[in-house]
């Protein structure tokens, strides 16, 4: 009973915090992108446009919901909710500090990867149910991309698992507090693994240069073409939450989680700083690069990322065996 209560409270808390953070993450992105492009960005609603996410939410809630002719209504309705649900559910195992963790699973990484892999199902549902050819192509691309990039994502996570000898996320952080951050130590392979993980993360959360599923210059809006109102908003928010949670997980696995540099002032704030920095960097990349073509994306994945991450796993195993013992 107590466990259930704790779950409800913590769950409510995490959803609230995450959604709020995402909303203002969007504001941050828009401001950042605007400055990169010599624009001002939102500045009308509230001071510095800070209430812009609220205004956007209001707008989306007021909009009419449109069902395309021939759409599969059940799947069409279900997809946005599943996207958001899966994205938020991933956050359950993220250890923000040693104590602030929803469920400190022994197989935390597995939970994260599994839910990340599940994301592809609602995306495909959205693509299929829309009864729109652009959405269909977007859905097909999303499936191919998620499945392919899941492999380097898993393998680079495996590097961390082999190094630390644990699949629990807080266990990984504790190991890093003891031995140093995985992105910095051992020098070289760690940072390569981090970069690969980061790239796979970009691909999993459909961000440029890997955002071909919704490539709006080709596919209008990909899977979200036919969505209107709050369902579009949920798909949109789902992606942002996915990116946010992914940033948090990258911070946990490779950047030492709540551990400060040289163990200075460790705590929740470091976790927040790292997550926000990674989140912002995703958008920095997004607003700077062009996008790949889908076959180039696959080639990049299978010819470069997968072999390199396989090599890293082997290296990690050898390091673990001979150096760490």
């Amino acid at each position: 009973m107590q466990g259930l209560l704790r779950g409800l409270v913590y769950g409510g808390l995490i959803i609230t915090v995450l959604m709020t953070a995402t909303a203002w993450g969007m504001w941050l992105e828009r401001k950042l992108a605007a400055r990169m492009q010599s624009r001002i960005g939102p500045n009308v609603v509230g001071k510095f446009g800070l209430l812009q996410p609220v205004a956007d939410l209001m707008k989306l809630l007021q909009k009419e919901e449109i069902y395309p002719i021939g759409a599969d209504r059940l799947l069409f309705d279900l997809a946005p909710f599943l996207v958001t649900t899966f994205a938020i559910a991933t956050a359950a195992v993220v250890p923000f500090t040693a104590e602030a963790v929803g469920a400190d699973l022994d197989v935390g990484i597995l939970w994260v990867l599994a839910l990340g892999g599940l994301m592809v199902i609602p995306v495909w549902m959205a693509g299929w149910a829309s009864n729109n050819k652009f959405a269909l192509i977007g859905g097909m691309r999303a499936v191919a991309q998620s499945v392919s990039y899941g492999v380097p994502l898993v393998l680079t996570s495996l590097v961390a698992v082999v190094f630390t000898g644990t699949m629990s996320l807080s266990g990984i952080v504790k190991f890093q507090i003891e031995h140093g951050w995985l992105a910095l130590w051992p020098p070289g392979p760690g940072v390569v693994a981090f970069v690969l993980f980061y790239m796979a993360l970009l691909a999993e959360s459909n961000r440029i240069p890997f955002d071909i599923p919704e490539a709006e210059s080709e596919l209008v809006a990909g899977i979200t073409t036919e969505y209107t109102g709050m369902k579009f908003g949920l798909l949109y928010v789902g992606e942002y939450v996915h990116t946010m949670v992914g940033s948090a997980i990258a911070a946990v696995i490779f950047l030492g989680g709540w551990d400060g540099p040289f163990h200075v002032a460790s705590g929740l704030h470091w976790m927040v700083i790292k997550t926000v920095a990674l989140f912002a960097s995703v958008y920095w990349v997004r607003w700077s690069l062009l996008r790949f073509r889908s076959d180039q994306l696959m080639r990049l994945c299978w010819l470069y990322l997968v072999p390199v991450s396989l090599g890293l796993v082997i290296f990690a195993a050898l390091w673990r065996h001979f150096v760490l013992r």
Partner: protein
């Protein structure tokens, strides 16, 4: 590897641009400084004695490529000079179809029709976009653009013989402010 290096260079470009001042001009709050010759809406002018310059000669009505100028005039005795001349009864200029070619300004022999530096104010009905005679004379008080019929014609004078190369460019210099 090339992807990575070039991506970092592209990231550098966007980072560099964060430092640059935004070029956005937030329109209703800030009005952009326009050039001397910028031309948008129209005005009809009155001369020094407060008399209407337009005599209803139909030059602008005939030249207009969109055929949006319509006028009617009668001949009366001028209260100022005492001579007989034309006076406008009605003059309309339909801004919905104007292509801002400035030909009506150029052909006007009395410098009566000129263009404005400030844009036409938006309205809620199509009728708001039609400039009536009253509106046109009202517009005469607003900041006018540099050109009028005489100046435009002077500028296009056929090339003078060799010793005087300057005159063609000169009027712009002296009368620009």
């Amino acid at each position: 590897m090339g992807y990575l290096l070039d991506s970092i260079r592209a990231l550098g470009v966007t980072a560099k641009n964060i430092g640059r001042k935004p070029v956005t001009v937030q329109f209703p709050k800030v009005i952009r400084e326009r050039q001397e010759r910028y031309r948008t809406s129209f005005a009809l002018l009155k001369d020094e004695q407060g008399e209407e310059r337009c005599v209803g000669c139909l030059a602008c009505e005939r030249i207009c490529p969109s055929q949006i100028i319509h006028m009617a005039s009668t001949k009366k005795e001028s209260p100022v000079t005492g001579k007989k001349r034309g006076y406008l009864d009605d003059f309309t200029l339909d801004m919905t179809a104007c292509i801002f070619c400035e030909l009506c300004v150029q052909v006007c022999p009395f410098d009566a029709i000129v263009m404005l530096k400030v844009p036409h104010e938006p309205g809620y009905a199509r009728e708001d976009l039609v400039l009536t005679m009253a509106k046109l004379y009202e517009n005469g008080e607003k900041p006018l653009t540099w050109g009028n019929g005489t100046k435009l014609m002077e500028m296009q004078e056929p090339p003078k013989p060799a010793p005087a190369p300057a005159p063609a460019a000169e009027p712009a210099k002296t009368e620009a402010p």
